[in-house]
Symmetry: D3
């Protein structure tokens, strides 16, 4: 079994799928029925109970999607996500190579890291040797660069060979830079570009999130043209908020006339 996202970007192809924030396997199914390559879960910002997480990951497997998860840089949490079958772990606010080394220690087995012996039920048929090899090859390690400190240490972070994918969140970056109310300013846009291009130059993959609008598509197309091979679509709650809000406003207006 290949990691579908890694298989795609290694072949130069684009992997795409939505962020899903709510702990509801049915939303994962939606991602699956439209042909997503990945579903991007977020136990960091939308805390998810273990039972729900397990069911969401298994549902993703039923559609052949790679589950990605953003989580705390904590060895026990990372171990559990991997033991549920997540194949792409990324942490928010990576500030230093030390942060990244801790992540790598949690993701990989000795000698590369310090993950302890266990694995998903789904992989129980493999021998120890086979599973350790699979895990070392297929599991993707990602970081978000989104603080002043992370920017300052970008070079040393990108130098870590076990790093696979770089992301960048505008909200925390603007908070960190002291401009909390302007996450879409030119300064933030430029900084994010700098981060992404540095990552590509260092031979890493990059991943960004785009709205499901024509503007979002244009941005995605621009980034694909410049080397991005992992495209995340906006989360269900953002899509729903925008679409329902516009419709309600128009319907109310129709009702008032």
């Amino acid at each position: 079994m290949r990691n579908r996202v890694k298989e795609l970007y290694t072949a130069g192809k684009v992997a795409v799928g939505p962020m899903i924030k709510f702990a509801e396997p049915g939303l994962v199914e939606i991602a699956g029925t439209v042909g997503s390559d990945l579903v991007s879960l977020d136990p960091y910002h939308f805390a998810i109970d273990h039972r729900d997480m397990r069911n969401m990951v298994n549902t993703a497997y039923s559609y052949g999607m790679t589950t990605t998860a953003r989580c705390r840089n904590d060895p026990w949490e990372i171990m559990n996500l991997l033991d549920m079958g997540v194949q792409f772990i990324h942490i928010p606010t990576c500030n230093s190579a030390a942060d990244l080394h801790a992540l790598v220690d949690a993701v990989h087995y000795p000698p590369k890291g310090k993950r302890v012996s266990n694995r998903p039920i789904r992989f129980r048929d493999m021998s120890d040797a086979e599973y350790f090899a699979w895990s070392q090859t297929e599991v993707i390690v990602g970081v978000q660069i989104e603080t002043r400190e992370g920017l300052e240490n970008l070079k040393e972070i990108l130098a870590v060979p076990e790093l696979d994918v770089v992301m960048c969140g505008p909200g925390d970056l603007s908070l960190s830079l002291g401009t909390p109310t302007d996450r879409y300013s030119d300064q933030i846009i430029e900084l994010r570009k700098r981060i992404y291009f540095a990552a590509l130059d260092a031979g890493k993959q990059i991943c960004n999130t785009f709205r499901t609008t024509s503007e979002g598509l244009d941005q995605a197309a621009w980034w694909i043209e410049h080397g991005m091979r992992i495209v995340r679509m906006e989360p269900e709650y953002q899509l729903m908020r925008r679409s329902y809000a516009e419709m309600i406003q128009a319907v109310k207006q129709a009702g008032d006339t």
Copy 2:
């Protein structure tokens, strides 16, 4: 506490809100944050556990929305939904006045119906007399006309004074008429118009579901112009499927060039 939907349509104003199919209170929150008047749940077609249902209804109250629920025409299920705080019950495939009388019996207390003594925690401060009066005034009774039999008995159904709202599903109507693969045919569209206008003529309110697209908006506006005061927006899964599918196709295309 007024039933917000009834209050609006009684005043000639439009009530609007989405259908939510998955048993996830966060999706109800989305409906609430964009100013929906109602959230339309579906324990009939997407079976929902009691705990989840209760949490979704309470979440709707936290945004001042009316919860509507489609359910089996079963007195115990209807009693439970009302005892959780649902304020608008409607049944699918209403075939006869007898079906509707059974629904009314389940919704209303004696002497109007046969509901047994209980109520939501939220209404425990009312005296029995107050709550029975509130319930009789505020709870909305709705039916879907969506079978050949329902069409044939439309007149007697509309003659039942306790009926408040009429709906109509194209899928089951086309199944019932022996044209299962053409739910958007001219014949179905005409039949649905006939049902809706007959309901309006009988002094009932009507409710239909519309996509959150410009085409859906045009249809909604047309119906509002013709008297509809309850507008449901397409469910989360339909909106997500369409938006994500279009984006994925475009992104993949961008990746291939």
Copy 3:
């Protein structure tokens, strides 16, 4: 997507998998990792909440297994199980052709039956026509003959063309025959053989449950030789109870010496 069980027995091959009684998707995973063709769930005797059922079915899909479910002969419950993705519905205590006709009405769409319009998320990409055709071809209808009345009406039951699979439970059969404490008597064994062979003669498939012991294997092999193509293994709780009980007794004995 084919129904794996139907595909196998239609090709003359044996489909095999365990009964799982507890509402735990991890147990479905166990079935999947050992190569089961089916997992046999039991919302009739071990009531399962909707959320759990959905997660178990989706987990079964992630291993390519067919989910079978035993349930009440109730149209709403059957509709919901089918709308979750179950592909094999069977009812206990089928006493008459009327019972079976009610089951067929619940399982199949018009004109064959009366199922109303809906389907699993997983099948949303099909057109209505495609899904109705898929459902009519792939969904398996089964009954348990396990009462005196069912025995008396066996011929008329077997004459219903929409019946696919026949099963037979010894416990209820012995209760029904007034010999409640002897479910493995020669009389019961003979009656069950009579039922199974009548079913095979009528062109139906048959399915029985066997222990995971050498004795259970011998029985399974005998029945396979005589035409059975759906083999269920004993449920987790029976296997665990026997294995743990034997070990505890032996360990306690070792401790006492």
Copy 4:
């Protein structure tokens, strides 16, 4: 939207509500129906799953109550509680100003603290600037002083300007002082008074828990007279244990005569 507890005590009025220990939203409803200003949850001592916590908080919003939560002094847990809509965070066993600074860092956004960018769904309509301002003004920071160390560092703790409310648990205080079996001793009572009056002198609010008995009411009245403006009522389990135990004893006695 104001924090109802802060609004009340700022205006010199008393805020009151029960502690609820079990993870059951219905118990939150009880608090709401009797006019509580707050419901005091305890994910520290009665671990609560994320889904349950979210539902309890949303239920509290449906009654306009402020949810308070006692939790570990851990930035991720605090962030999640705030992102669910909790408006009053307090930690047990605050031993030093350093403990409190860590709490403040977790509760407040830069530059006051280090909370990362996110918020409850309920506040998504605010701009970043509005929400950061709201959060800084409305979220209440509390500590429990209940160790020898906390007592020793009381002055420096009270000197932290971001501290809003001081509490004090007798059980851990007596454990810490080496008198574990006497949590209601005169020594403990005096120490708690000292803590509370020092807090009031430092311009902080204070909060204590009282039984729903005439003795509890007298104590509450005394404290209100001396400046306390946040009154918590004993948890459901204590009230139920006392009331049911007394009744059972009396009923059994009646049965024996």
Copy 5:
């Protein structure tokens, strides 16, 4: 294992315990820690998911309490409650001997009734013969008489030998008699006495619910004196509502002075 409630009343002793309405096993624990003989659950009026019900029943076993459950007069639901380990089933609104016969059919195995073959995990070590005998002896059958029709048919209902316990709800009785707002009128009180004494005369046990107040205790003592041996205490939500409401009012008053 004896049914503790039956063992007590058969010996002329009083069995006592609370009604618990919310689906929270912790509330069952409270009942257990204060020495309750029974815990009275209500899947009829406070719908409870299967997983929650199972956990509540198992928790009751951990304290040696008998679980009673009020439920619909539906064979599948009753079977499931018994298969979870409930030992006392009672139905609301028993209107006739036919209603009661349906209940008996659902509770007892052939030849006494029609329950199908299954049992709680907890009883798996018994042989079929042992369990059928245990079930026939120990499971308690109860009805609520609370309608005009039930009153009229009281004699024939009490004549059914399998009936063990009679209850009577004032709310539905007053609704049925056309005096919905006066459930504590003299008329209702007299009717309930008539029902209870008729039941005692017919050799049945009776069970009523009392508040945990001195007034409630006096009423309980009176009934015990007159033969009642099953005493239920008011549900958690009523006790909490009364106690918290009184305290809040007093505290607010203290704050205002």
Copy 6:
């Protein structure tokens, strides 16, 4: 109430029970019905939600079994498990006496440790003094020695008087020693023997896990003979995987001939 495991091994008798990995109380029931003395849960490697954990522990109490739990060496998690009623806490990968001292601090109240004031509902009837004494006497502290570091510090670990039970996992030991693919090598077997005998020599109890096979029984008997008094049986998933896999292979073979 005695800790059944401690009571047995203190009397020189063997305590036995299965490891249960899935978060399903029904599996705990299986352990109970076959007479297990303990059920060994694993919130470390199979993350379990709080609600599920609580229900599993209460179910174990209903059968009089001791619940053991392996968890992170984290004071909050350990406190919560103890407050749910777990009576035997053990940590994986104990590398030093410092690790063990942290565990003891989390398990025991002052002055022995630093556990804060709380307890299971089930023990609320005890006075503080009684419960603290009970806890100090009955709760079992265990460690797994399974790293090179743990081996090197074995002597100092065994010298800690509060340590009760020593275990040893082969998988992590082989990972730690750089032979990840050979967990059943002679080297590992010898090391584990060395650890166990050193523990016995130091006056500690030991505990190992055995398959429910004749080979597993022989190994258990050998260890019992050499002093082991806590015998764990393989987890449900391993037993099920082996039994079902063998049966499937044989059935498929029977089907092919």
